[in-house]
Amino acid sequence: MTLLELEGVTAAYGPVQVLEDVSLTVPDGGAVGILGANGAGKTTTLRAISGTVRAGGRIVFDGRDVRGLRPDQVAALGIAHVPEGRGTLGDLTVRENLRVGAYLRKDAKGVERDIDYCLDLFPNLQARIRSNASALSGGEQQMLAVGRAIMSKPRLMLLDEASLGLAPSTAKTVYDAIRRLRVESGIAMLVVEQNANLAFTLVDTAAVLETGRTVLTGTSAELKGMDEIRRAYLGG
């Protein structure tokens, strides 16, 4: 079953048209990558879905067009956006950040259980539970950002450049945890990732964007085999 469908999505920042024609689908429980060079419109596609930029075309989540909704309304439908730059709340502690993620939930026991789950998934956060988020390392902040998204019990997670600025081993730790999360929770994922090799460890299929258009979609295996993909995004 299709959970999210984008069809002919357009978006602009002022006079600059960033998305011309983006189409892709995310099946329920699936993981889809968005690949492309800098400026291709990957981040903007995620922003269009979460309501942070105004978009044209069709963005249908669970049978409902979500265009025109505010970001908090989109979040309430079950879409958790982990933004580029992580968006952790610096002056709040790790635990407070996780509790903010659970803002819309009423099940106090479930929230406590899920905080424990996040700490099990990201053991680094356990020792920092009382620290302000601004005092965490980059990797820990990324883990916290994903943890906060988990706390909202989403059906779809939008992950934007989760490896950005991290040491390769830290990036691998983060992706290992996200892969485990995917298996254990069944949360569908739409993943923007500069490091295509890392992305292919997580996603089943991917869409390739060029200057705001979807130019290619395929399974990870198909795309990995293509010469132009390898040249453009896998470093030869």
Binding site: S50, D72, L89, D91, L92, V100, N132, S134, G138
Partner: protein, 293 residues
């Protein structure tokens, strides 16, 4: 010795006035990330509302409650229709807007009610009681008690409640907070409403002492800002203690330090700020912000 204790008690009493306003400033800052210079103006407006209602024959207690409710709505409306237009831009712009709002509110109050001092009825009896050999007015004790209660409630609100956490989250990063489903606009309105309501408490508490004029809190606002810097923007307990320190030191310096006297005592809090900022830039009780990238 008796004179010393009397000065300290009087200082605590005036310090409580600064503390009330300082708490409102901390509330808005924690809930919106802004310093609201219009806080004093809105508090004076609330005092006028209560004053008008008492003139209509309403008991002073009820009039104050009504003024607090009116202020909550007014604060929320100001956020929704004025401040929100500037929230997406440079934070400095919004701060300048609050300064403009202060001028506007003061002017409107003067236009409607004139600039003559009006007697505002006190919520507390005007008697004094003897404490440690000095006479203390019940009004001062009552004002101080209300401030302490407000301070504890604020601390509990921000640290222990879900809405307090949500208010802080929105102040830190509205866009990111929205990704967790926080209704940013509504929370900002609530934050401003609560701060205006707290300002109304401050305004109506001190109006009997200062007598009601449109510029009643202009001086107090300066001291309140001093208390906020001294105590640390993030700490309700800190700013109240700082306000008391300012009130007491100001009184003591005026009497015991010859060259300061009553003419120069206004400089005392600023000398204090200067020293504190040199030694502890985050304020006496504020948390140091550590940022790693």
């Amino acid at each position: 010795m008796e004179k010393f204790v009397q000065l300290v008690v009087d200082g605590l009493s005036t310090g409580s006035v600064y503390a009330a306003l300082a708490l409102a400033i901390v509330l808005v800052h924690s809930a919106t990330g802004l310093i609201n210079f219009a806080q004093g103006g809105l508090a004076v407006l609330a005092a006028y509302v209560a004053w008008v209602l008492t003139n209509q024959g309403l008991p002073v207690g009820l009039a104050i409650v009504a003024a607090i409710l009116v202020s909550f709505v007014l604060g929320a409306v100001v956020e929704r229709y004025l401040i929100r237009r500037f929230e997406r831009g440079d934070p400095d712009t919004a701060v300048v807007v609050t300064i403009g709002l202060l001028t506007l509110v003061t002017g409107v109050a003067g236009w409607i009610w004139g600039y003559n001092n009006q007697q505002f009825p006190s919520l507390f009896p005007l008697d004094t009681v003897s404490l440690l050999g000095v006479s203390v007015s019940i009004r001062s004790l009552g004002t101080t008690a209300v401030i302490v209660v407000a301070m504890v409630l604020l601390q509990v609100l921000f640290v222990r409640t879900k809405i307090g956490l949500a208010l802080r989250a929105v102040a830190i990063n509205p866009q990111s907070a929205a990704f967790s489903g926080l209704p940013v606009g509504r929370l900002l309105m609530v934050g401003w409403g609560l701060a205006a309501a707290l300002g109304a408490v401050a305004g109506t508490l001190v109006a009997p002492q200062l007598t009601l004029t449109p510029g009643m809190l202009d001086n107090a606002l300066v001291y309140a800002l001093a208390a906020v810097i001294l105590g640390g923007l993030t700490s309700p307990v800190g700013v109240v203690v700082a306000a008391w320190i300012i009130g007491v030191l100001e009184n003591l310096a005026a009497v015991y330090v010859g060259f300061i006297g009553f003419d120069l005592k206004v400089a005392v809090p600023f000398i204090l700020i200067f020293v504190v900022l040199l030694v502890r830039p985050q304020g006496l009780f504020g948390r140091k912000t550590v940022v790693r990238v």
